[in-house]
């Protein structure tokens, strides 16, 4: 054990004597948080800018505009037809509503028409306005039908409807989708950095073989097993610090609502650290040089992170890719987080955890097999 600690101290000293490595290993994971924040952080409480062109001078059209003006998070701007296209195209307006000359008349006839909604931002923006507006128009149309064609009764009912003093209690439900998306992006980026870090540490073995210090080392009482174990230990230590640092920063500093407890996340990601260490060791055991190991590692890390859905929601990916993703350990980490966010207990997700353990076991077994057959000093002359 003393030998291993001695090796660990040396690896840490040599690695972190380069200040750039401190930035890479401990600054890198935080970039994921920043990207997530940039992507999702500013989407709260947005005000919708709606342009209005009212070509109808009747009361119903005026009241409709008045109704829109009183909606929460909606800013109504009166515009004219000549500037409509320009304002929509440049994004100054999210959408525009054109009330035609016969708009009020169509309502009174019970068949709402002569209303046009213009937008280039799609349903995400227009559905909110559409829903409120159509409900309002449906109510007025219903009054017309209820008045049975009697203009006096309709007017009375309409006036009362406009002056009605409803008591409205507003309950705001927490929108967890933003937190979930930010969690996926933060953790997805962290998984990639962990894989890269583990790869860098495993590459030290190749570099030491190339510069012959490896053979000098194993000519001392240190054996190959202890040497590799020390390397894995440092790799694991760095990755665990990355995990704790990222979780602390995300939860305590950036206040990202992960909806999963700190320790559940820490345990899950530590399990992935084991997978990363195993994978990088396997890559090194197969590679013929440190350059080949580096290239192979990048070739595995980046595509597997993309396929596993580290940078975008899993549901957005095509079905075929979703099936392929199941062969990536990153997917099982993200899937477990998703399940935990849905309220499943940590214990009930033991199968996911077993799958991750199986990945680590397979990688380590392959490495042991290959290392046992690759201890030929001639390869590195």
């Amino acid at each position: 054990m003393k030998d291993i600690i001695w090796l660990i101290r040396k690896i840490i000293r040599v690695t972190f004597r380069k200040k750039g490595n401190i930035l890479l290993y401990f600054g890198g994971p935080l970039i994921g948080i920043l990207i997530a924040f940039l992507a999702y952080g500013g989407s709260d409480q947005q005000t919708l800018k709606v342009g209005i062109i009212n070509q109808d001078s009747a009361q119903i059209a005026g009241d409709t505009v008045h109704f829109l003006e009183h909606l929460e998070n909606v800013e109504v701007v009166k515009i004219n037809e000549s500037t409509l296209k320009d304002q929509i195209a440049t994004g100054k307006l999210d959408c525009a509503i054109i009330l035609g000359q016969k708009f009020s008349e169509s309502i009174e006839n019970g068949i709402p028409d002569h209303i046009q909604l213009v937008s280039i931002k799609g349903a995400e923006v227009t559905s909110f306005v559409k829903s409120y507006l159509y409900q309002y128009l449906d109510n007025i149309t219903a009054l017309k039908r209820a008045a049975n064609g009697d203009p006096e009764v309709y007017q009375k009912m309409y006036d009362r409807f406009q002056q009605a003093n409803f008591k409205l209690q507003v309950e705001t439900l927490q929108d967890t989708s933003k937190g979930k998306n930010m969690t996926i992006m933060t953790i997805g980026f962290l998984l990639m950095i962990m894989l890269i870090s583990a790869g860098n540490f495993a590459e030290i073995i190749m570099k030491e073989k190339e510069n012959r210090t490896y053979f000098r080392l194993i000519s001392t009482p240190i054996n190959v097993r202890k040497y590799v174990l020390a390397n894995i230990a440092v790799s694991m230590m760095v990755m665990v610090v990355q995990v704790l640092l990222t979780l602390l920063m995300a939860m305590k500093v950036f206040h990202i609502e992960m909806n999963v407890s700190f320790w559940q996340m820490a345990v899950l990601l530590t399990l992935f650290a084991l997978v990363s260490a195993g994978l990088s060791l396997m890559v090194v055991s197969f590679a013929s040089s440190s350059r080949a190991a580096g290239a192979l590692h990048i070739l595995i890390t980046i595509p597997s992170c993309l396929l596993a859905g580290c940078f975008w929601p899993f549901d957005l990916m095509p079905k075929v890719v979703q099936r392929i993703a199941q062969f990536m350990p990153q997917h099982w980490v993200l899937e477990t987080i998703n399940q935990l966010q849905l309220g499943y207990s940590f214990g009930s997700l033991y199968l996911n955890l077993m799958i991750l353990l199986a990945f680590a076991a397979v990688f380590f077994l392959f490495s042991v097999y290959k290392f046992g057959r690759n201890n030929d000093v001639r390869n590195f002359a």
Binding site: K2, D3, W6, L7, K10, R13, V14, R17, K18, N211, R212, T213, F215, R216, L217, I218, S219, T220, P221, I222, N223, D376, V377, R378
Partner: protein, 311 residues
């Protein structure tokens, strides 16, 4: 006391025999030279002795113990100075020696004292806080040696420790080897420089094609070829010379060219000097000087292997 015993050692790599049934025995206090051209099997033998490779057949005993069964014990008593520098550029000279010495279990003040002792021994104590990237080739070689001796091994294996360094550092290293030997260390020394081996080794083994082809003191090895003499002829140009033609002259055993010097090893008792000179005159070769020399290790090596050591 025998520090190293090698019995019937063989190492095969996928059918290729790198070391072929060799036996060696090295006594305490010897400086044992291992000579051989590239590919002779010297490095493989050293790797086998150091426990870096497992032998295909045979046995190696260090201080009476099998080097595979008692690898920790045997490794604790060996210090290896590898041919390629095995030092960390990102650690200072002090940290390098400290790290390697620590792998042999040294800790605390004992470790610090031994590190400083080793650095002082190789003349780098003043440079202990400097990084090897700022060192000359000779200084790096000396640091390489310091890393191997700080734990005070009984057997030191030096694989070409003077390759590519300046004469001053070479002399320093050769003197250090003498000093280590006087301090009780047994040394195995390999080199391409015949004069170094002649100067420092008490016993020499010559390897070729994985086999030990001769072994003994310098005098014993030269005695193998007492029936020959060396003739060195310095010429102005060598273009017209056909070595094979000289070899055909009666009594000539080996011929080699070293720049403008034709080195001929010839049997004693056969007067063939006239024929050699006649051949050179016929070829219109201008002769600068002619010297008849006593055979040395290089002659022995050439006679036994048919090659120069640096071929």
């Amino acid at each position: 006391m025998k520090v190293l015993e090698v019995k019937n050692l063989t190492k095969k790599f996928d059918g290729f025999i790198a070391v072929d049934n060799i036996s060696l025995s090295i006594n305490e206090g010897e400086i044992f030279g291992l000579l051989g051209p590239n590919g002779a099997g010297k490095s493989t033998t050293i790797n086998l002795i150091a426990g870096l490779l497992r032998s295909s057949e045979g046995e190696i005993k260090i201080l009476g113990k099998n080097n595979m069964k008692h690898s920790r014990y045997t490794k604790m008593n060996i210090g290896i100075v590898p041919q390629d520098l095995a030092i960390y550029e990102d650690l200072t000279a002090f940290e390098n020696v400290k790290f390697f010495a620590g792998l042999y279990g040294l800790r605390g003040t004992e470790l610090t004292d031994r590190v400083q002792e080793a650095l002082e021994f190789v003349g780098l104590l003043d440079m202990q806080r400097a990084y090897p990237k700022n060192f000359s080739g000779g200084m790096k070689r000396r640091l390489n040696i310091a890393c191997a001796i700080a734990h005070r091994p009984k057997l030191i294996i030096m694989d070409e420790p003077t390759v590519g360094i300046d004469p001053h550092s070479r002399n320093y290293i050769l003197q250090s080897i003498h000093k280590l030997n006087e301090m009780g260390c047994t040394i195995i020394y390999t080199s391409h420089y015949m004069e170094e081996v002649e100067e420092i080794c008490t016993r020499i083994s010559i390897m070729d094609h994985g086999k030990v082809i001769a072994e003994g003191t310098k005098e014993q090895l030269i005695a193998i070829i007492t029936n020959t003499k060396d003739i060195w002829i310095e010429v102005k140009s060598v273009e017209q010379i056909d070595i094979e033609k000289i070899k055909e002259i009666n009594g000539v055993k080996t011929v080699s060219l070293d720049k403008n010097v034709i080195k001929i090893n010839s049997e004693i008792g056969i007067n063939n000097l006239n024929n050699i000179l006649l051949y050179l005159m016929n070829q219109k070769v201008e002769i600068g000087s002619l010297e008849e020399r006593e055979p040395n290790l290089e002659t022995v090596f050439l006679t036994l292997t048919g090659r120069n050591l640096r071929d």
